[in-house]
């Protein structure tokens, strides 16, 4: 850093050398530490997020590819095979044996439950997304309200000091003059 002054009597370079030397000396003597310097110089001023402007693309992304996180379930799902030509033959055998299988157990309640679960999963995704969004918005609003409370507190403190000064001025005026 350097500076400009329109007066010939000032040696700007010397002043800046002295300024830097002074800072270095304070560091040497431990009056200023590097973490302190970094904290002061680098502390950011975070931008403010508007709660109602908060948008999330998470739900859209999740719903775009349901096969990655949910399963599509229908009455035929448990008989399907993913083994190509051999799988199709296997599916035909399973279909053919289905009445026999039904003699041993009833898959319908299980099919109904799993189909319902797939729908519930989609509903949970919506719910979770909305809850997360609302909680984030609420936390931003809480932060905003906290700031407002602190502003009011600072203002009240300033006014209290002002009133105190005013009182002192009034009392000063009423005090009898010194002999």
């Amino acid at each position: 850093m350097t500076f400009r002054i329109e007066d010939g009597s000032v040696d700007v370079e010397k002043v800046m050398r002295d300024v830097r030397e002074r800072i270095a000396e304070k560091k040497r003597r431990g009056l200023l530490t590097d973490p302190e310097v970094r904290e002061i110089a680098g502390h950011p001023l975070h931008p403010v997020l508007e709660p109602h402007d908060l948008k999330s693309s998470l739900l859209g992304e999740v719903l775009e590819t349901p096969s990655r996180w949910n399963f599509a379930f229908d009455p035929e799902a448990i008989y399907r095979s993913s083994r190509g030509g051999a799988g199709r033959a296997l599916e035909a055998v399973r279909r053919w044996l289905r009445p026999v299988q039904k003699l041993f157990w009833n898959p319908t309640p299980m099919i109904a439950a799993l189909s319902r679960q797939a729908e519930l999963n989609a509903a949970y995704a919506h719910l979770l997304h909305n809850l997360t969004l609302e909680v984030t918005r609420l936390s931003l609003e809480v932060q905003d309200l906290k700031h407002r409370a602190l502003q009011m507190q600072a203002r009240a403190e300033f006014q209290a000091r002002r009133n105190k000064t005013l009182e002192e001025i009034v009392l000063e005026g009423r005090r009898p003059p010194a002999e």
Partner: protein, 359 residues
Amino acid sequence: MSAAPRRVHQLLAALSYGDAIGNEAIAIQEHLRAAGFESDIFAESVHPRMAHLARPLWEYADVSSPETVCLFHFSIGSAAGRLIFHAPDRLVAIYHNITPAHFFLGFHPHLAGLCYHGRRELAAFAPRTELALGDSEYNRRELEAAGYARTGVLPIVLDLGAYSAPPSPVTRALHDDGRTNILFVGRMIPNKRIDDLIRTFAAYQKGFNRESRLILAGDYRGHERYFARLQELVRALRVDEVAFTGHVEHDELMACYAVSDLFLCLSEHEGFGVPLLEAMVFGLPVIAYDTGAVAETLRGGGVLLDEKDPFDVAALIDRVLGDDSLRAAVMRTQARALAAVRAVDFGALLLQRLAPVLR
């Protein structure tokens, strides 16, 4: 051949009390009337204390004509702007600058939008305007870049008499306690980089002078979120005695100047900077970051920074306040600058600048 115009009125969005633009409008009116022109001020909103000085905007229709010269103090998204754009009057724009939108992003998105559109609106006025005056060369160059053909500089006039008003005894007593007071005057908005002032003051207080105070005299209404972030910064850096005064009355402002030891400005966008001149009037050494019209406003006075590392600036503040010869040199430059400001005959300059439309 048509006769020279005798009616030169002014139009502005708001005539505020103690505001530099309002004061300039009043000074222009006084000089125009003294020169024999019929001259009124029309404003959309008027501060109650200024009510006797202005006429409501809707009365402008009574004086509007192709022979009337209208001095329009350009401001963003105002009804006054829409009115004059479509009126038959000869238009002179007076430009006090529009803050670039990016400063408000993240703190005031609505205002960022208004500023963005304001700059587009400025360009739209160019073909409609006969003459455009900026209050600094910096502003004049912006007008030129926006497409204005005929431009000039009409600096803001300082009512030096107003600075001899008695300072508020309460504000004076509040801050006059032996601490070194560093002052900044201006609205608490992002382009003024109040955060840099706080960082620099933190460095000064921690490294050079524990018995010090930063007085930030300026309105923060409408910018509460930015203001909250500033207060958060003050707490995070554990700085004592940062006084946000909020809006101050004239006598309180006088007291702030009277009790301060140095004026520090680290703003990153200034179209003019009246407080820089005020600080010089009050004999405060000025240290300012060289940006926008700051150097031009200071007219060679004060200390201009090319960067603003908090510790370097803090050490420089300490040096200016502690080194009598450096301080005396700064005060000499400021005395010369003030003499140059005082030498300006605003009335003559105004008529000279308006000559192309008054002939």
